[in-house]
């Protein structure tokens, strides 16, 4: 579908997700630890942005603050103009630990439906959403299975189905494919792209994998080492239609990848960020 290459999501409304001056200091241990120093960035409506950084750079902390699971020490998070103080109804999260974020005592269908019940959606609408989202991730046949009867990649699909059935404005994904094998990962990456294109949802995708970040994102935010700041904001000028084979061979892809890689290396060394 080359016709869809015209940017149909981007920039409709700026500031769908707005993070301003976010700082997080942990006071639990013997000495306070500053995990995140000063983070400011913005996601426009319908954007797919990847957040990449060296391991241990506070990605998870950041994500928990954005999701409203953890209060930042200072700074604000806004979703569609509303400050996030607790998990907002317009946000869905897909965690890395798929095995632990699914209810093992519920069928796949019940897992997807539960949040919708809590939203007090009428039964017919719930069934419709469950069917659609399971269809979207290709798990219609497994609606009555338990999550632990499925392979890891399929479990993560269930988590994704649950997230999109929730009809969020913003979808947060916390290294969702870090624990699945390489082939599954490629499939799931394409799944995320296709869901994003179809639903027009705003996606913030956290990863430590540079290739994944460049392949998936319309923009890549490179984080520095802890205490974390945004080291670089890279616009990915790849076509909307991407393909595991051709995109990864694209000269632009390799150039972007090298650029992000260099930034991360620098971040690891802790040298002062240089403007790209």
């Amino acid at each position: 579908m080359p016709a869809t290459d015209t940017t149909h999501h981007r920039g409709v409304r700026p500031g769908m997700l707005k993070v301003t001056g976010l700082q997080k200091i942990y006071n639990g241990g013997p000495a306070p630890v500053e995990a995140v120093r000063d983070l400011t960035f913005e996601l426009a409506e319908g954007e797919l942005v990847c957040l990449v950084g060296p391991s241990g750079c506070g990605k998870t902390t950041l994500l928990k603050c954005i999701a409203g699971l953890m209060a930042p020490t200072s700074g604000t998070v806004e979703l569609a103009g509303e400050p996030v103080l607790s998990p907002p109804p317009g946000m869905a999260v897909v965690f890395q630990e798929y095995g632990r974020s699914l209810f093992a005592w519920m069928s796949v269908r019940a897992n997807v439906e539960l949040p919708l019940k809590e939203k007090k959606l009428p039964r017919a609408r719930r069934e419709e959403l469950v069917a659609e989202s399971l269809e979207a991730v290709g798990l219609t046949a497994f609606a009555d299975a338990y999550p632990w009867q499925l392979s890891g990649g399929m479990q993560q699909r269930v988590a994704i189905a649950r997230a999109i059935a929730y009809e969020p404005q913003v979808l947060l994904m916390d290294e969702p494919f870090a624990a699945v094998d390489a082939q599954t990962r490629a499939d799931l990456e394409d799944l995320v792209r296709s869901i994003w294109q179809r639903l027009g949802v705003t996606v913030l995708f956290v990863t430590h994998d540079i290739d994944e970040a460049v392949y998936l994102g319309e923009r890549v935010l490179v984080l520095s080492n802890s205490p974390t700041v945004v080291q670089d904001d890279v616009t990915v000028d790849l076509p909307v239609e991407r393909d595991q084979l051709t995109t990864r061979q694209d000269e632009r892809f390799t150039r972007l990848r090298a650029h992000v890689y260099a930034q991360i290396q620098q971040a690891k060394k802790g040298t002062a960020p240089t403007a790209a």
């Binding site: 928990k64 999701a67 409203g68 699971l69 607790s86 998990p87 109804p89 946000m91 869905a92 999260v93 965690f95 630990e97 632990r100 974020s101 699914l102 209810f103 093992a104 005592w105 519920m106 539960l114 949040p115 019940k117 809590e118 939203k119 290709g138 046949a141 497994f142 009555d144 299975a145 338990y146 632990w148 009867q149 499925l150 392979s151 890891g152 990649g153 399929m154 479990q155 649950r162 929730y166 699945v180 094998d181 082939q183 599954t184 499939d187």
Partner: protein, 297 residues
């Protein structure tokens, strides 16, 4: 064990690999049910179940049928005769059913209190820290020592017996519930928060369900204790009930009747435990499946 893994299901590779097509595990089947499903034949399976009991009963019978077998070990047919005569009569309603009623009442109350308090303590670290040493002490008291006390306080009525059962059974349930509630997976708890699952739903869908393996383990221990406490509260000082009846038979040297009482107790223990297993199988089917999935079976 020459070929030790022969009887086991195939050990699958632990790393979950993705296939688009259905995965080898068929949905909707608790994986724990995969026992010795080999074509061993109905005959072998019958032998598995019946051979040893038949041998044991036969040996006992042969032993007791000898003239010098002694007065305290009546033959199985004598026990069976006494059993039929005793328990298929009004004694069933006078002695057995009230005992069972107290047992179940006490157990149910203990379950209610234990799970309720356990959830409260499990969810609140501060309250737990305050209560922990006290609970450690209270649960370490062997419950039978309360029988004499309860008799002094409450006499020998039903209330005393139920109170003893409740006090004895509540601790394993309470402490296991606390453990289970504390062990709720933080990722799952975060997930629930993200999707707006709170309040009663959170309790019902997240907390109680994920604590259910521990809660069931506590209930199982408590059930065994409840039977013990039912019997000794009746044996110690009582005028009715199964425990009382058995002690009466023993004191009057009504040996076959005493054995019939012991057998009935055994049957009660067995039936209650089987019923419990049935319930547990329903409640924890998912847990067994999860465990065997983790083990890579």
């Amino acid at each position: 064990m020459n070929r030790p893994t022969v009887d086991r299901p195939r050990a699958a590779p632990a790393a979950p690999t993705e296939q688009e097509a259905p995965v080898a595990r068929p949905p909707r089947r608790p994986a724990g049910a995969a026992r010795t499903a080999r074509p061993a034949g109905a005959l072998l399976r019958t032998a598995h179940v019946l051979l040893l009991p038949a041998v044991l009963v036969g040996a006992y019978w042969a032993f007791t049928a000898r003239p010098d077998a002694g007065f305290y070990t009546p033959t199985p047919d004598a026990i069976a005769g006494a059993f039929a005569e005793l328990w298929f009569s009004e004694r069933l309603f006078v002695d057995v059913l009230p005992s069972l009623g107290r047992l179940l009442t006490g157990f149910a109350l203990a379950a209610l209190v234990g799970v309720g308090l356990g959830v409260l303590l499990g969810l609140d670290a501060r309250v737990r820290a305050i209560a922990e040493p006290v609970l450690e002490f209270l649960r370490a008291i062997p419950p039978p020592v309360l029988v004499p006390l309860m008799i002094m306080l409450a006499g020998i009525d039903d209330g005393m017996k139920v109170a003893v059962i409740v006090f004895g059974c509540v601790w394993p349930i309470l402490l296991n519930t606390v453990e289970g509630v504390r062990a709720v997976d933080p990722v799952l708890a975060d997930t629930a928060r993200c999707y707006g699952i709170g309040g009663v739903t959170r309790l019902r869908v997240l907390v109680l369900r994920s604590a259910s393996p521990q809660i069931m383990a506590g209930l199982r221990l408590a059930l065994a204790l409840a039977i013990i406490l039912m019997v000794i509260s009746e044996m110690f000082a009582s005028s009715s009930g199964l425990g009382f009846a058995i002690v009466q038979f023993q004191r009057t040297f009504a040996i076959p009747e005493m054995w019939a009482g012991m057998v009935l107790l055994g049957i009660i223990g067995f039936v209650l435990s089987s019923l419990f297993e049935l319930v547990e199988g329903r409640v924890l089917g998912w847990y067994r499946g999860l465990r065997s999935a983790h083990r890579g079976e």
